[in-house]
């Protein structure tokens, strides 16, 4: 697991290293959505809670929050990027 951890660090750094400033905000937002992966942990806790009320409550709250993070994160990012996408063809045309 440590290997994976280290490799993921390198991947993260490598993937981001050449990003233009223009995209810092959407990128942060996108990364924000991706760490919504914690949702899965919440689902597992809730899914395996059984009759344990404490686990159930904690898991339930975790899933609610996690979903907020995931859904909100992706939708916000998409809205930000919507504007870039509309611009892309114009950019190419004008460049020629």
């Amino acid at each position: 697991m440590i290997y994976i951890f280290v490799l993921a660090i390198f991947t993260g750094v490598e993937v981001i290293s050449r990003v233009p400033t223009v995209l810092h905000t959407p990128l942060m937002s996108g990364a924000n959505a991706i760490h919504g992966i914690v949702l899965i942990g919440g689902v597992i806790v809730l899914g395996r809670a059984g009759d344990n009320m404490i686990l159930f409550a904690l898991g339930f709250i975790a899933v609610v929050f996690g979903t907020l993070n995931v859904v909100g994160g992706f939708v916000v990012t998409d809205r930000m990027l919507e504007m870039f996408k509309a611009k892309a063809p114009t950019k190419e045309k004008d460049a020629k």
């Binding site: 929050f65 939708v75 916000v76």
Partner: protein, 492 residues
């Protein structure tokens, strides 16, 4: 090319994996394959997010990855409570969707912060849940391995998640104007923070003892939440983008350590990915603002030097100008460079800017936009905003591109920007923003500043540009001022 080939390849891999094992292994293989594929999609998504043309699809790719990972989780062995899971997801998804869809473009940064906080809270609750399970673990004393591989990540998950939760909420409050944007300070700040950190360590050790566990865990949670507030409150609004980025990677790490505790690969990979990418992004942002990360987190913004700069400026005057005169200046100019700032975003005046730009271009005026890397509340904020108003992409110039052009510009029109055009960054060694790369708007033949009032900018620093002999101030809300300007230009 590679991103065309890889997804199908990954699909192949995913379909191949579960069938390679006997069917009895399906329950663990399907999630594993889904996680693997999801992790690949995340990496891809991030990669695509770093180029303007592929960014949107990148976000969607990552979204698909998330859906996959989630789907895979449902098949894990020992899962139940599906109805409740679905209910919780619906409860989270509806407000998340609505908030994200309805929020104004200008409020994006705080939205990101809010959602980030939710992720932090999620990680915290999961770690809490996991820790209650640990109580029931067999055997008296936990082995060293168990502590390193399980307890440590869990505690870290609680602390990081908690900090990220309240920190993000404070950042949200600051940007939303619910909490004072100005740095909030109190005596012995660093000492108190250090004490809280020490107490957290103490509480973490307390978790080890069976009798003290429940109390120690609760104290740990309270302290982590407190630390988040304490850390972010003293930081000024101008540094919020950096703070959000730090908290973002913090949540990423929280997700990763929680993944360690739960031995969930996708959480480790995605969390670490975000943690690493977020850290790098933070560094890049700091570089763009020429601020060291340590200064953002521990230092003050606009402290001592503010007084003397203000004193030096007070004997000079700002020259006001009316819209008709501005319109004449711009209408008969050869080249106008527009410098947008946060004021433009607040006033939602981006469409008006574009209209003015069109009018001027029709009169044969060359119009360019100068985009400072950190103009607005977040890097790229201005690009997004102007893109929304259909301003053609090639007209937006980066700082390096545009700075030599100011000298040939007849008019630099500054709309709601302040610190990014403050010449003090070049000249005054004592200024808190000294050394920050700025837009050389002061080099233009004429400078028109549209500004709401005479107050200082976000960083609380007096701007000597406003007192220059060739600077004219057009006071008023950006929207109103631009409306007047366009009417006047039309009338020319």
């Amino acid at each position: 090319m590679i991103h065309i080939i890889l997804p199908p390849a990954a699909c192949l891999l995913a379909t191949a994996l579960p069938t390679a094992e006997p069917p009895s292994g399906l329950q663990t293989n399907i999630p594993e394959a889904a996680y693997l594929l999801a992790s690949l999609l995340f990496i891809f998504g991030l990669k695509r997010l770093s180029s303007p043309r592929t960014a949107r699809s990148g976000n969607r790719v990552a979204g698909i990855g998330m859906a996959l990972a989630l789907g895979g989780t449902f098949v894990l062995p020992g899962m139940g409570n599906f109805g409740w899971i679905a209910l919780a997801i619906v409860i989270g998804a509806i407000p998340g969707w609505l908030l994200a869809k309805r929020v104004k473009m200008t409020a994006m940064p705080q939205m990101v912060s809010l959602f980030n906080g939710m992720g932090g809270a999620c990680a915290m609750f999961i770690s809490l849940g996991e820790i209650t399970k640990w109580e029931g673990a067999p055997g008296g004393k936990p082995s060293v391995m168990a502590v390193v591989a399980y307890a440590f990540p869990m505690l870290l998950g609680i602390v990081l998640g908690g900090i990220s939760f309240t920190g993000s909420l404070v950042a949200f409050g600051k940007l939303q104007g619910l909490v004072s944007e100005k740095p909030v300070r109190w005596p012995a700040q660093k000492l108190i923070n250090a004490a809280v950190v020490l107490c957290i360590l103490g509480a973490a050790i307390g978790v080890g003892g069976d009798s003290t566990r429940t109390a120690a865990v609760l104290i740990l949670v309270a302290l982590a939440l407190l630390l988040g507030v304490l850390q972010v409150l003293p930081i000024g609004g101008a540094d919020m983008p950096v703070v959000i980025s730090v908290l973002n990677s913090c949540t990423g790490l929280a997700a990763a350590v929680t993944g360690f505790a739960m031995t969930n690969m996708s959480m480790i990979i995605a969390g670490t990915l975000v943690g690493a990418a977020g850290s790098l992004l933070t560094v890049l942002m700091c570089k763009a603002m020429n601020r060291s990360l340590a200064k953002v987190i521990f230092g003050s913004f606009g402290g001592a030097a503010k007084g003397q700069a203000a004193a030096g400026a007070s004997d000079k005057t700002q020259r006001e100008i009316a819209a008709p005169e501005c319109a004449i200046m711009m209408g008969y100019a050869r080249k106008v460079i527009i410098v947008p700032g946060y004021g433009l975003a607040v006033a939602q005046a981006q469409h008006l800017v574009h209209e003015l730009d069109d009018l001027l271009e029709k009169r044969g005026v060359e119009v360019k936009y100068a985009i400072h890397p950190v103009a607005g509340r977040m890097p790229g904020h201005m690009n997004v905003l102007l893109a929304e108003a259909d301003v053609p992409y090639p007209k937006l110039l980066d700082m390096e591109e545009v700075n030599p052009e100011f000298e040939q510009a007849d008019v630099a029109l500054i709309i709601g920007a302040n610190d990014v055009v403050n010449p003090a960054a070049r000249t005054e060694a004592g200024s808190p923003i000294y050394g920050m790369p700025i837009l050389n708007a002061d080099k233009a033949k004429n400078v028109i500043v549209i500004k709401r009032g005479r107050g200082t900018g976000f960083a609380g620093i007096e701007n000597s540009l406003f007192y220059n002999p060739n600077t004219r101030m057009l006071f008023g809300d950006a929207k109103k001022a631009l409306q007047e300007l366009t009417t006047e230009v039309k009338a020319l």
